[in-house]
C-alpha cells in the first residue's frame, strides 16, 4: 500500500524541514520526502497543492470518556473527531468511570483503541491516586508497564502539599511525568467538585460580577502553579502544567524555567482565543475549568508560546452531552470539545492575528508535545510511522453541530466561521479523514 | 391624495357642546344627581367643557371624573395601550353618570367604559354624550346626546382635535391614505 502526497508545503519541525515537496508513504511508514517523486506504480496519489503537509497532530490532553461515559464520547467518535481535527495521537486523561488508576483500565483503553478506533493512537494517562481521591498513590510502576505514559490529577487538583510531594517523588522514582491541574480549590470554591454546590463557575471579574456568578479568581491558578513548581524544584522531577490560563501562571513558569526546574506547560486554544466575555448570556459552552480569562491573560499566554514558556498546545477536549450543558450555568459541567477546532482557532489567533509563523504553530502541535512525553510521534522522518496531516491554512468554513464528529457538540465556536481546515489525515499510512 | 375634509370648525364644536349641555339638563330636569365622566383621552376635556356650560347655565358645579378603559378593552391581544389613571371623584352609586367621548363608532369603547364603571358602584342610570356619531355600530349601543351625526365610510377616520390636547379645535374626516 503506497500513498504519494504531491506538491504540498511539507513542514516538519523535527528535521527543520519547510519546503514544497512530495511525500511517499510505503507500508505505513514515511518512505521518502523529495521534490517531484516519480509515482511508483500502485501508489494512490493525493494532490496537496496549496496545502500544508505536517506530522499528524499530537494532543496530550484529551478526555476520552471511555470507559464509563460513552454517552459523551466513545472510542470511535473520539478518534473520528481527532482525525477530522488532524490529530493522530491522543493522550487521554484518567477521570473515567472507573478511574484510570489500575492496569485493567489501562488495558481496556488500549484494547478499545485498537478494536474500535480508526488508527489514531491513544496513550492513557493514569491517575496519581486511587479513585482520584488524592489519598493513596496508585501503582505507578504497574500502570507504566501496562502502557500509561504519565500520571495526572486533572479535574481533581492536588491540594495537600505533602501528598503532592510524595506524588512527585514516586513519579520520579518510576520515571513518569506528572501532569498537574493547578488550582487552589479553597479560592475557587471546589473547582469540579464545587459544581452545583455553590463553587465558582467562571473567571472572577467584571463579567462574573455583572452576571452574578461565583468567580474563580486568577490568583487561584498562580498560587497552585507556584506550589507545584517549588516542589518540583525540590524533588527534581518532571512536572507538566496543564491548561495554563493566567498571566500570573505564565510568569511563574517562566521564572522557574529560568532556574532550570524541569517544568513544562501547555495552553488550550480557548484560553488564548476567547475571554470571559464569551460567557455572557450564560453560555454553558463557554464554561470550563480553568475558566476563560481576560484579554491580558490571552496576550500573556501567546507571549508564553512565543518565548517557549509554554511548550505546546493541548485542547483539553472535554465532551459533555447536550442535556448536561442545557441547564443552569451553576449546574452545568465544566469542559468543551476542542479537537476539531484546535487548528483553525490556533491559526487565526496565533498566526493570522498573532506573532507565530505557521512552522512554529505546527511545532507546538506536533514535535513539542511528542517530545514532552517522549512519544514516538510528531515527526515525518523517513522510517517513522506515517502519521500525516494535510491542511489548508486559509479555507473558510462554518462550524455546525451536524458536522461535528465528536459525539458531544459543546463547543463555544458553534455557528462561527473558522479559517483553516484539515483536508486529509493519515494514520499509520492509512487515510482516516 | 385628497385634502382631509373638515367636518366641524371650532365654532361648530362650541355650539354643539353648548346644545348637548342644555339637553343633558333638560333630560335630567336639572343637575342634582349628575356626575360627568370623560373617557380618556379626548372625552376628558370635552366633559370639562360641558361642566363649564353647566356652571354658566345653571350655576351649578357637577362632579367631574376621568375614565381610562385600557384595562377593559376587548382587543388586548392585538394592542395593549398603556393605561392611564382613572379618577372617579365620588361614589357613583345611585347617580346619573354621563359618559362623555369624542367619537362614537363601533361602540366597543363604550362597552369597555360601562364595564370599567361597574367597579366604582351601581349608578341609577348611565347616559352617553358624544361629539360625533359616525355610525358603523358593532354592539347594541346608542348615544343619548350627539353633537353631530356624520355618515362616514368604514375606511375613513374621524379625527377630533381639541385645544387642550392638539392646540386647536376641529373635526376632520381622513381617508384611508391619510391614515397611512
Amino acid at each position: 500500500m503506497k500513498i504519494l502526497i504531491k506538491n504540498g508545503r511539507v513542514i516538519d519541525p523535527s528535521q527543520n524541514l519547510d519546503a514544497v515537496a512530495d511525500l511517499l508513504i510505503e507500508d505505513g511508514k514515511i518512505a521518502q520526502i523529495e521534490s517531484a517523486i516519480r509515482n511508483p506504480q500502485s501508489a494512490t496519489e493525493f494532490d496537496a497543492a496549496g496545502l500544508i503537509v505536517a506530522p499528524g497532530f499530537v494532543d496530550i490532553h484529551v478526555h476520552g470518556r471511555t470507559p464509563g461515559q460513552e454517552y459523551k464520547e466513545d472510542t470511535a467518535t473520539l478518534t473520528a473527531a481527532a482525525a477530522a481535527g488532524g490529530f493522530t495521537t491522543l493522550c487521554v486523561m484518567p477521570n473515567t468511570v472507573p478511574t484510570l488508576d489500575n492496569r485493567s483500565v489501562v488495558e481496556d483503553v488500549l484494547s478499545r483503541a485498537k478494536s474500535e478506533g480508526n488508527g489514531v493512537r491513544i496513550y492513557p494517562i493514569a491517575s496519581v491516586s486511587l479513585a482520584a481521591k488524592n489519598e493513596q498513590l496508585s501503582e505507578f510502576a504497574d500502570l507504566k508497564n501496562a502502557g500509561a505514559i504519565a500520571v495526572s490529577d486533572d479535574a481533581f487538583p492536588l491540594q495537600d502539599a505533602d501528598f503532592m510531594r510524595r506524588v512527585f517523588q514516586y513519579a520520579r522514582t518510576v520515571g513518569l511525568v506528572t501532569m498537574l491541574h493547578c488550582e487552589d480549590t479553597a479560592l475557587t470554591g471546589g473547582g469540579h467538585a464545587g459544581v452545583g454546590r455553590g463553587g465558582g463557575v467562571m473567571n472572577e471579574g467584571v463579567v462574573s460580577t455583572e452576571l452574578g456568578l461565583r468567580g474563580m479568581p486568577r490568583v487561584s491558578e498562580e498560587i497552585a502553579v507556584y506550589k507545584a513548581c517549588a516542589l518540583a524544584r525540590e524533588v527534581g522531577n518532571r512536572v507538566h502544567i496543564l491548561h495554563v490560563s493566567t498571566r500570573g501562571a505564565v510568569a511563574v513558569i517562566r521564572s522557574f524555567k529560568a532556574q532550570g526546574v524541569p517544568v513544562t506547560a501547555e495552553a488550550g486554544p480557548h484560553h488564548f482565543g476567547l475571554t470571559d466575555e464569551a460567557v455572557r448570556g450564560y453560555n454553558t459552552n463557554a464554561k470550563m475549568n480553568p475558566p476563560l480569562r481576560t484579554r491580558e491573560d490571552c496576550d500573556a499566554i501567546i507571549q508564553g508560546l512565543v518565548d517557549g514558556t509554554i511548550d505546546c498546545i493541548a485542547t483539553d477536549h472535554a465532551p459533555h452531552a447536550a442535556h448536561e450543558k442545557e441547564r443552569e450555568f451553576d449546574g452545568a459541567p465544566f469542559g468543551i470539545i476542542g479537537l476539531e477546532t484546535s487548528l483553525p482557532v490556533s491559526l487565526q489567533t496565533l498566526v493570522e492575528k498573532g506573532p507565530l509563523d505557521v512552522t512554529q504553530l505546527v511545532e507546538k502541535m506536533t514535535t513539542a508535545p511528542a517530545q514532552l512525553l517522549a512519544l514516538d510521534a510528531g515527526t515525518l522522518k523517513v522510517g517513522k510511522r506515517a502519521d500525516v496531516t494535510a491542511f489548508s491554512p486559509d479555507e473558510n468554513w462554518i462550524l455546525e453541530e451536524e458536522t461535528i464528529r465528536s459525539k458531544s457538540k459543546n463547543s463555544p465556536w458553534l455557528r462561527q466561521t473558522m479559517k483553516g481546515r484539515v483536508k486529509a489525515t493519515f494514520a499509520g499510512g492509512k487515510q482516516i479523514y | 391624495m385628497s385634502e382631509p375634509k373638515k367636518l366641524m370648525e371650532a365654532a361648530d364644536i362650541a355650539r354643539a357642546l353648548k346644545r348637548v349641555a342644555h339637553e343633558i339638563i333638560e333630560r335630567n330636569r336639572g343637575l342634582d344627581n349628575v356626575v360627568l365622566v370623560g373617557i380618556r383621552t379626548r372625552g376628558v376635556p370635552l366633559s370639562a367643557r360641558i361642566a363649564s356650560h353647566f356652571e354658566a347655565i345653571e350655576n351649578q358645579t357637577v362632579p367631574l371624573g376621568a375614565l381610562d378603559i385600557a384595562l377593559h378593552r376587548d382587543d388586548f391581544h392585538l394592542r395593549a395601550a398603556p393605561p392611564q389613571k382613572t379618577a372617579i371623584p365620588c361614589d357613583i352609586s345611585g347617580k346619573v353618570v354621563i359618559l362623555v367621548d369624542d367619537v362614537l363608532f363601533t361602540g366597543r369603547t363604550i362597552r369597555a367604559a360601562l364595564d370599567a364603571l361597574n367597579d366604582f358602584g351601581r349608578p341609577a342610570s348611565v347616559q352617553l354624550a358624544v361629539l360625533v356619531d359616525r355610525g358603523h355600530r358593532e354592539l347594541p349601543i346608542r348615544a343619548d346626546f350627539v353633537g353631530k351625526n356624520a355618515p362616514t365610510s368604514h375606511e375613513e377616520k374621524v379625527s377630533v382635535r381639541l385645544q387642550e390636547i392638539d392646540g386647536e379645535d376641529e373635526v376632520l374626516i381622513l381617508t384611508a391614505d391619510e391614515r397611512g
Binding site: Y282, R327, E328 | H72
Partner: protein, 311 residues
Amino acid sequence: MKRKHLLGLADVSATEITQILDTAEAMREVLSRPIKKTPALRGKSVCTLFFEPSTRTRASFEMAAKTLSADTSSLTVATSSVSKGETLKDTLLTMAAMGAGCFVIRHPSSGACELAASFSQKFGYDFHIVNAGDGCHEHPTQGLLDLLTIRQHKGEIAGLKVTMIGDLLHSRVARSNVHGLLKMGADLTLCGPQTLLPPEFGLLDLKMTHDCDEAIEGADVVMTLRLQNERMNGVFLPSVREFAALYGINARRLKRAKSDAILMHPGPINRGVEISDDVADGGQSVILNQVTNGVAVRMAVLYGLLGGEEN
C-alpha cells in the same frame, strides 16, 4: 412594550423603564379602587415557578396577576442542589403543556431565567418569562418598584443622590437597582465592606466607599440591602454586631442624609441589623410603599408583556 420576557434591567432602556413606571402609576389607581379587579388579562395563564422559598414576591405577583384577571397557578420546586432532580427544562415544558403562557420564575442559579427564555418556541410552546429573582444576578421587578417608589417621593430620579448599603456581592436587588438607577441618571454610591463589595462595580459610573457615614452624607435616598442569614457570621463578616455597628442605619446615621431623604429596604428586614427599629418605623421609611408599589409594578410588567404590540 415590545419585549417578550423581562429577564433583567440590564437590557431595558430608560424610555422603557419610564413607560413601565407610568403604567404602574395607573395600576396603583386600580389598586385603590373599591373593586380591585380589571379584566385585562382574562384568559391568560400565569404560572409562578419558585425554586427557592419566597412568600412575599410570589404573593405580590399572584395579586398582580389576579387583579388583572389572569388565572394563576404555582409550583414550588424544592431543590437541595441544582444538580439533582427534574431539570428546569422539563419542569417548564410540563407546565407549558398544561397551558401556562407566562412563567414567573424564582431560582437560586444566576441566569436560570435566560435559560428558561431560550426554551420558548424551541419545543412547540410559546411563553413569556418574568424573572422574580435569579441567584445573585437580577430581580428586575424589585428594581422597578424601587424606582417607582423613588419617583413618587422625589419626582425626577435624574440627579438624585442615591446610596445603596450592604451586601452588594450577593444581591440581585442591588444589580437590578444599579442598572435601573444609572439608566435613570441617578448619582449612585455603593457602600459595604470589601468582602461584600466587588471592586468590579467601580468600573461603572458610580462611587464606592467602605465608610457608611461618608456614603450617606447628603443622600436623597438611602437604600439598604438585606443581609442573608448565611452571610452574617463567618468569612464575609465577623458578626451581626459588627455589621450593625459599621453599616446599620440608625437615627443618628440617617441625620447625615438630607432632611427629606427616604429610607428603603427590599424586605424582609433584619431589624436591628440593616436598620434600627426607630428608623424602620419612622417617618422617612417608605418600606411599606415599596410593597404596594411591588404589586402595581408587577401588574404593569404582566400587562406590558402579555398584551399585543401597541400600534
